[in-house]
C-alpha cells in the first residue's frame, strides 16, 4: 500500500481524533499479521467478485449474440428505435463518474478529506443523472409507445415479429446494469458517510474507497459494451 502523507494532510477535529474508526486508529482484523495483507486480500476478493459480475453479464451478452444471429432484421430495427444521443450522454456521465471515483481513491491516499468527499458526491450525482436520463428519456418514452418486453409489447408499427425479444434483451441488459449503478451509488453513499463522520479513509486505510471505485469502474465498463451493442450497431 503506497502512502503519501507529505501533501496537505487534513487537520483532524478533536471529536474524532480518538475514534477507532478514524483511519489513523484503524487496526487490522485479528487473523491478519499486518494491515497491508488485509488490504491485499480485500482487493483480491474484490477482483474475484468482479469476475463473477463479468460472467453474470456474459449471459446477457451471449443471449444478445444468439438472437442477433437468429433474427438479424429484428436486431437491426431494434437499434434504430434507440436514440444514440441519450446513450452517448449517459456514456459521458459514466466516464466522468469513473474519473471522479479514481480521484476519490487518490484523495484518500493523500489524506485530502474535503476533496475525497467532493469526488464521491460528484460520483453519486452522476449515478443519479444516469438513472434519470435512462428513466425519463428512454424507459418512460419507450414504454409509453408500447415498446415493452415480451408479451407486453404493443407497438403497432413493428416491422419484424421478433422485435419483442429485442426489447426483452434491451430491458434486461440495461435494467440489470441500472441496478448495478444504484448498488454502486449506495456503496459510495456508505463511503461518504464514514468519510464525513469519522474521516475513516486515509493514506494507510482506504480499502473500501478502492473497492467501491473498482466496482464502479466495472459498472462503467459494462456500459461501454452495452452502448455500442444496443445503440450503434445496426
Amino acid at each position: 500500500m503506497s502512502t503519501m502523507t507529505d501533501t496537505n494532510p487534513t487537520d483532524v477535529p478533536q471529536s474524532i481524533l480518538k475514534s477507532p474508526k478514524h483511519w489513523r486508529n484503524r487496526i487490522a482484523g485479528h487473523h491478519w499479521r499486518t494491515g497491508d495483507e488485509e488490504f491485499d486480500a480485500a482487493k483480491l476478493g474484490m477482483w474475484l467478485f468482479l469476475t463473477t459480475e463479468v460472467l453474470l453479464f456474459a449471459g446477457i451478452f451471449c443471449g444478445y449474440a444468439v438472437f442477433r444471429m437468429m433474427y438479424p432484421e429484428a436486431w437491426a430495427n431494434g437499434s434504430h428505435y434507440l436514440d444514440w444521443r441519450f446513450g452517448a450522454a449517459n456514456t459521458a456521465v459514466l466516464l466522468l463518474s469513473s474519473w471522479t471515483a479514481a480521484n476519490a481513491v487518490r484523495c484518500a491516499q493523500l489524506d485530502k478529506q474535503f476533496w475525497l468527499r467532493v469526488n464521491i458526491i460528484i460520483t453519486i450525482a452522476c449515478a443519479a443523472l444516469f438513472i434519470f436520463i435512462k428513466l425519463k428519456f428512454e424507459y418512460m418514452v419507450k414504454l409509453g409507445e408500447g415498446k415493452a418486453p415480451g408479451t407486453f409489447f404493443s407497438y403497432p408499427y413493428a416491422q419484424d415479429p421478433h422485435e419483442p425479444l429485442w426489447w426483452s434483451l434491451y430491458y434486461i441488459g440495461t435494467g440489470i446494469h441500472a441496478a448495478h449503478v444504484i448498488i454502486g451509488a449506495a456503496l459510495f453513499g456508505v463511503v461518504l458517510y464514514y468519510a464525513k463522520r469519522y474521516q475513516a479513509y486515509g493514506p494507510t486505510q482506504y480499502t473500501l474507497v478502492e473497492n467501491a471505485a473498482l466496482y464502479w469502474h466495472l459498472v462503467d465498463l459494462v456500459w461501454i459494451f452495452l452502448f455500442p451493442l444496443l445503440y450503434l450497431i445496426h
Binding site: H31, E53, G63, A74, P164, S168
Partner: protein
C-alpha cells in the same frame, strides 16, 4: 486469566464450543459469530438436515416404484349374491399414502410422484450437495489446515451462511406450499408453462438463485484465504491435498455460479413477465436455457466431487500411515478437472445440437477421465504397503474407491455418442450419477465427518456402531443403484412413475436396497448422537495425522492455535515425522519417524 499469564502471552482460551452461560446468550453468540468453526458446524447440521429431507423424498420415490400402477378387475358380491365386476387402480402407492394423511387429494399418483422426485433432486443438489463438504468441513478445516485463525473475510462468511438460510427458506416455503414438478433442472418450456401453482415454481427458482450467491461468496472467501493466509513455511506444495481440492472447487464456484444466476433470473422474468427469451412461441429458444443451465450445472458436478476427492486423499494417507503417492499429480489433476469441467456441458444435450458439436463435446468429456483416473491410481498406489487401519474413515475411503470407480467408468458409455443413444435418459444415467454423487461425494463426506468428528466436537464416536452403519450403507447403496444399471440397459426410462411388469423384480430389489441404505444412515445418526451425549473425550490427535488441525486441541480453541504454527514437515511425511500430541500407547508409528534430520 491472571494478569501474569496475560503478560506472558499464555492465554487460557476455552474451546470454541464453550460459550457464555444461559441459553439465549449462547444462541445469540452462535447467530452472530464470525468464527469459521462455528459457521462450519452450523452448516454441517443444516446440510445434514437437508440431506434428511432429500433422503425422505428419495424413499418416497422408491416407495412408489416398488410396483407398477395397474388397472385391475375387482369382483364384489352384492346383496343379491350377484358378482359385480369393477376396475380399480392398484399400485398408486404415494397417492394412497398421502390420502391416508389427508394430503394432496386432488392430485393423481403420477403428479405426486413428479413432485417427489423434483423435491428430491432440488433439495439434494441446491441445498445439500453443493454446499455440503466445502461449506461444512471446508469452512471448519480450511483455515485450520492452513494454520490461520480464520478465513480471509469472516463477516462475509457469516453473510454466506445467512444467504444459505434465506435461500433455503424460499425452497422450503415452496415445498410446504405443495412443491413443484418441473424436475430439478427447471427446463423450459415446462418450468414456464406447467400448471403447477405459479408462485411455487418462482419460489423454488428464486431459492436456487439466492443459494448461488452463498456458494459464490464461500468460494471467493476460500480462494483468498488460500492465497493470503497460509502459515509461515507453508508453500503451495506443502498444503494438504484437501486444501488443493477445495481451492479447485472454489474456483469453479466463483466462475460458474454467476452464469446460473443470470439464467435463473431470466427464468424468473420469463415465468412472471413472459419476456419470451426461452419461449419458442415468441421466437425464444428453450435450448439456449439448457446451454446456460449446463454451463453452470456441469462444472457444479465437480464442485460436488472435487472436495470429496480431497477428503479421500486425507483419509487414505492418514489411516494407512503412508506418504501420499503422486502429491503433485493429485494436486494438478484437481485443477485439471476444474479446467476441463467448463468444456463439457454439451454432453447433457447431445440430441439438441449438431453432429460436429456433439462429437467435440463427446471427445472433451473423455478428457475428464484422465485426471480422475490419475487420482484413483495414485490413491491405490498410496495404499500399497501402507499400515492400513480398517476403521470407519478408512472403510469409507475404500468404499469410495470401489463405488466412485464404477460411477466414473459408467460415465464413459454415456459420453460415447453411439452407446448414449441407447442409454440416455434411462436408469443407466440415474445409476451412473448416483454412483458418482452418492457413491463419491456422500460416501467421502461420511468418511470425512467420522475422520474429523473427534476434532470438531472433542468426542470419539463408537467405532463398532459406525462400522455397522458403514456396512449397511455399503450394502444398501449397491443394492439400490447397481440394479438400476440393468434397468437402464433394458430400457427403463428415468422420471417415470409407472413401468411394464418385466421391470418389477429389479425395481423391488432397488426399493429394498433404499430401505437398507436409510437404515444405515439412521445408525450413523444414532452413533453421532451417542457420541455427543456420551462419547469418550477425544485426544488431540487420535489418528496420527500430520496436518495442522491435529496440532490443535480437540475441540480447537477459539483462535485455533495457541501460537502461530510454523510448518516444518510435509502434510504426509509419516515415514520421518512423529505426529503432534503422539502418545506411544495409542498407536504405532513408522519406526524411522523422528530420526530424519531437518
Amino acid at each position: 486469566m491472571s494478569t501474569l499469564d496475560a503478560h506472558a502471552g499464555h492465554h487460557e482460551e476455552g474451546s470454541y464450543l464453550s460459550g457464555p452461560p444461559g441459553i439465549m446468550a449462547k444462541v445469540w453468540q452462535w447467530a452472530t459469530t464470525v468464527d469459521h468453526k462455528k459457521i462450519g458446524v452450523m452448516y454441517l447440521f443444516a446440510v445434514l438436515f437437508m440431506f434428511f429431507v432429500g433422503g425422505m423424498a428419495a424413499l418416497l420415490v422408491r416407495y412408489e416404484l416398488i410396483d407398477p400402477m395397474r388397472e385391475v378387475l375387482v369382483q364384489t358380491v352384492d346383496a343379491n349374491g350377484d358378482i359385480i365386476e369393477t376396475t380399480a387402480t392398484q399400485g398408486e402407492n404415494l397417492k394412497d399414502l398421502f390420502e391416508g394423511l389427508g394430503m394432496h387429494e386432488d392430485l393423481t399418483g403420477t403428479q405426486i410422484y413428479n413432485r417427489a422426485f423434483t423435491l428430491h433432486g432440488a433439495v439434494m443438489v441446491f441445498m445439500f450437495i453443493v454446499p455440503s463438504i466445502p461449506a461444512s468441513l471446508g469452512n471448519f478445516f480450511l483455515p485450520v489446515m492452513l494454520g490461520a485463525k480464520d478465513v480471509a473475510f469472516p463477516r462475509l462468511n457469516l453473510l454466506s451462511w445467512y444467504i444459505y438460510l434465506f435461500g433455503s427458506t424460499f425452497g422450503i416455503l415452496s415445498i410446504l406450499m405443495g412443491g413443484v414438478d418441473t424436475g430439478w433442472t427447471f427446463y423450459t418450456p415446462y418450468s414456464t408453462t406447467t400448471d403447477a401453482d405459479h408462485w411455487r415454481v418462482v419460489l423454488m427458482v428464486t431459492a436456487a438463485f439466492i443459494l448461488g450467491f452463498s456458494s459464490i461468496l464461500t468460494g471467493l472467501n476460500f480462494v483468498v484465504t488460500v492465497h493470503k493466509l497460509r502459515a509461515p513455511g507453508m508453500g503451495w506444495f506443502d498444503m494438504p491435498l484437501f486444501i488443493w481440492a477445495v481451492y479447485a472447487t472454489s474456483i469453479i464456484q466463483v466462475l460458474a455460479t454467476p452464469v446460473i444466476g443470470i439464467t435463473l433470473l431470466l427464468l424468473i422474468f420469463e415465468r412472471i413477465m413472459n419476456i419470451g427469451i426461452f419461449d419458442p412461441a415468441m421466437g425464444g429458444d428453450p435450448v439456449l436455457y439448457q446451454h446456460f443451465f449446463w454451463f453452470y450445472s456441469h462444472p457444479v458436478v465437480y464442485v460436488m466431487i472435487l472436495p470429496a476427492m480431497g477428503i479421500i486423499s486425507e483419509l487414505l494417507a492418514v489411516h494407512a500411515r503412508k506418504h501420499i503417492f503422486g502429491y503433485r499429480a493429485i494436486a494438478f489433476s484437481s485443477l485439471g478437472i476444474a479446467g476441463v469441467s467448463f468444456l463439457v456441458w454439451g454432453h447433457h444435450i447431445f440430441t439438441a445440437m449438431g453432429e460436429l458439436a456433439a462429437v467435440l463435446f463427446s471427445g472433451l468429456t473423455f478428457l475428464v477421465a484422465i485426471p480422475t483416473a490419475i487420482k484413483v491410481f495414485n490413491w491405490i498406489a498410496t495404499l500399497y504397503k501402507g499400515s492400513i487401519v480398517l476403521n470407519t474413515p478408512m472403510c469409507y475411503g475404500l468404499m469410495f474407491l470401489f463405488t466412485f470407480s464404477i460411477g466414473g467408468l459408467t460415465g464413459l458409455p454415456l459420453a460415447t455418442l453411439a452407446t448414449d443413444l441407447h442409454l440416455h435418459d434411462s436408469y443407466f444415467v440415474v445409476a451412473h450419477f448416483h454412483y458418482v454423487m452418492m457413491g463419491g461425494t456422500v460416501i467421502a463426506f461420511l468418511g470425512g465427518i467420522h475422520h474429523w468428528w473427534p476434532k470438531m466436537f472433542g468426542k470419539m464416536y463408537n467405532e463398532p456402531g459406525a462400522l455397522i452403519g458403514m456396512a449397511l450403507v455399503f450394502i444398501g447403496f449397491n443394492v439400490t443403484f447397481f440394479t438400476q444399471f440393468f434397468l437402464g440397459t433394458q430400457g427403463m426410462p428415468r422420471r417415470y412413475a409407472n413401468y411394464v411388469d418385466e421391470f418389477q423384480t429389479l425395481h423391488q430389489i432397488s426399493t429394498y436396497g433404499s430401505w437398507i441404505l436409510g437404515l444405515g444412515m439412521f445408525v450413523h445418526l444414532a452413533v453421532f448422537i451417542h457420541s455427543l451425549v456420551a462419547g469418550e473425550k477425544a485426544p488431540a490427535n487420535p489418528w496420527g495425522g500430520l496436518t495442522l488441525e491435529w496440532e490443535c486441541e480437540s475441540p480447537p480453541i477459539e483462535h485455533n492455535f495457541h501460537h502461530e504454527p510454523i510448518v516444518k514437515h510435509g502434510p504426509y511425511d509419516f515415514e520421518t515425522t512423529v505426529p503432534p500430541h503422539w502418545d506411544p500407547k495409542d498407536y504405532p508409528i513408522h519406526p524411522d519417524a523422528g530420526k530424519a534430520t531437518h
